[in-house]
C-alpha cells in the first residue's frame, strides 16, 4: 500500500486541475484552428498534433503513465508495435491495390493491371439478334 499524505494528494489535485484546464484550452484551440483555412494536409497535421498533446496529458497525468511501473511500459510498447505493424500492412496493401510497383511488397509486373485493362470489353450484339 502506498502512503498518501494530505500534502501529496493536494499536490496531485492541483496538477489534475491544471491538466484539465489545459485540455479545455486545447479543445478550444482545436476548434478555432479548424476554422482557419490551412489546407487539407496542414489542417490534418495541426488537428492531430493538438489531439496527440491532449491525449498525452490524459495518459501521462490522469492515467499516471508518467510514473508507472516498467511492466506497463512493456505492455504498451508491444501494443504500439503491433498497431504500427498492422496499420503498416494496411498501407502496403493499399499501395498494391493501386498498382504501385515499389516497396517491400513489390508485385510482379504481370499481376499489376490498370483498371481499364482488367474489365473485358462487352461483346457487340450480333446483327439481327433478339434482345429481350
Amino acid at each position: 500500500m502506498s502512503a498518501h499524505t494530505p500534502e501529496a494528494v493536494q499536490k496531485q489535485v492541483r496538477i489534475y486541475r491544471t491538466v484539465g484546464a489545459v485540455l479545455i484550452v486545447g479543445t478550444v484551440i482545436t476548434v478555432l484552428a479548424a476554422n482557419v483555412h490551412l489546407g487539407i494536409i496542414v489542417g490534418i497535421i495541426v488537428a492531430l498534433i493538438i489531439a496527440t498533446v491532449k491525449g498525452s496529458l490524459v495518459a501521462g497525468y490522469f492515467m499516471h503513465l508518467f510514473s508507472e511501473k516498467k511492466l506497463i511500459y512493456m505492455v504498451l510498447a508491444l501494443t504500439a508495435a503491433v498497431v504500427v505493424v498492422l496499420a503498416g500492412l494496411l498501407v502496403f496493401s493499399y499501395g498494391d491495390q493501386q498498382g504501385h510497383r515499389h516497396g517491400i511488397f513489390q508485385m510482379p509486373e504481370r499481376h499489376v493491371q490498370p483498371h481499364h485493362e482488367t474489365a473485358a470489353p462487352a461483346p457487340a450484339p450480333e446483327k439481327g439478334s433478339h434482345v429481350p
Binding site: 500500500m1 496531485q12 484539465g20 479543445t27 479548424a34 489531439a51 491525449g55 490522469f62 498501407v91
Partner: protein, 203 residues
C-alpha cells in the same frame, strides 16, 4: 469440505511487478482496446485515402454539440481523478460527490449524442449514405457503448459496490483507480475521434 482460496495481490502489489492484479489486468485490456480502435482508425485512413471525395464533417455534423461533448468528457475525466484522489485522502463523501458528477457528465454526453443521432436520422443521414457516415456511426456508436460500460461500472462503485470501503478500503481504492483508467481511455479515444470525424477537412 470446501476451503476458500484467497486470491493474492488484490490489495497489495506483487513484489516482482510492483502492480496489484487488477491494474495489470486493466492495462492488458486497454492494450486490446488500443488495437480495436487502432484498427478502426486505420480503416478510416485507408478508406479516406482511397476515396475520390470525402465529406467535411463540419458541414454534416454539429461542431458546437461535438465541442460541448468533448468538454463534458474532459470534465468527467477530471471529476473521476478527483474521486480517486478523495479516496486516497480518506474522504469518502467527496469521493461519492465527484464520482456522481462523473456519472452525470456521462449521461449528458449520451443525451447529446442521442440528439445528434436523431438529427442525422431525420435528415436522412444513415450508415448507408456514404463511407464517411458509415465510419461516423461505427466509431461513435462503439465509443458510446464504451461510455455505457463505464456508466455501469462507475454506477456500481458509486452505489452497492461502495460498501467495500468499510471492509477493505485499499482494495476499493484500487477498484476506483482501475475504473478510472478505463474511463480516461474512453476520454482519450474521444479526443482523437472528435477532430477526426468533426473537424478534418474534406476532399
Amino acid at each position: 469440505m470446501s476451503a476458500a482460496i484467497e486470491i493474492p495481490y488484490n490489495s497489495v502489489e506483487r513484489p516482482d511487478t510492483g502492480l496489484y492484479n487488477a491494474k495489470l489486468g486493466i492495462w492488458l485490456f486497454l492494450a486490446s482496446e488500443v488495437m480495436l480502435f487502432g484498427a478502426l482508425f486505420s480503416s478510416y485512413v485507408l478508406l479516406r485515402t482511397g476515396a475520390e471525395t470525402w465529406e467535411h464533417g463540419a458541414e454534416i455534423l454539429s461542431v458546437p454539440l461535438g465541442t460541448i461533448n468533448t468538454l463534458v468528457l474532459i470534465a468527467s475525466s477530471v471529476t473521476m481523478v478527483f474521486s480517486y484522489a478523495s479516496l486516497q485522502a480518506g474522504n469518502f463523501a467527496r469521493f461519492r460527490m465527484f464520482l456522481g458528477m462523473t456519472l452525470v457528465c456521462a449521461v449528458i454526453f449520451m443525451v447529446i449524442k442521442g440528439f445528434e443521432y436523431k438529427a442525422k436520422f431525420e435528415h436522412g443521414f444513415l450508415p448507408s449514405t456514404s463511407t464517411y457516415m458509415a465510419l461516423y456511426f461505427t466509431m461513435t456508436a462503439l465509443h458510446a457503448l464504451h461510455v455505457i460500460g463505464g456508466v455501469i461500472v462507475n454506477g456500481y462503485l458509486w452505489g452497492p459496490g461502495s460498501k467495500m470501503w468499510l471492509t477493505d478500503p485499499q482494495r476499493f481504492t484500487n477498484r476506483v483507480e482501475v475504473a478510472g483508467l478505463y474511463w480516461h481511455f474512453v476520454d482519450l479515444v474521444w479526443i482523437f475521434l472528435f477532430p477526426t470525424l468533426y473537424l478534418l477537412p474534406g476532399k
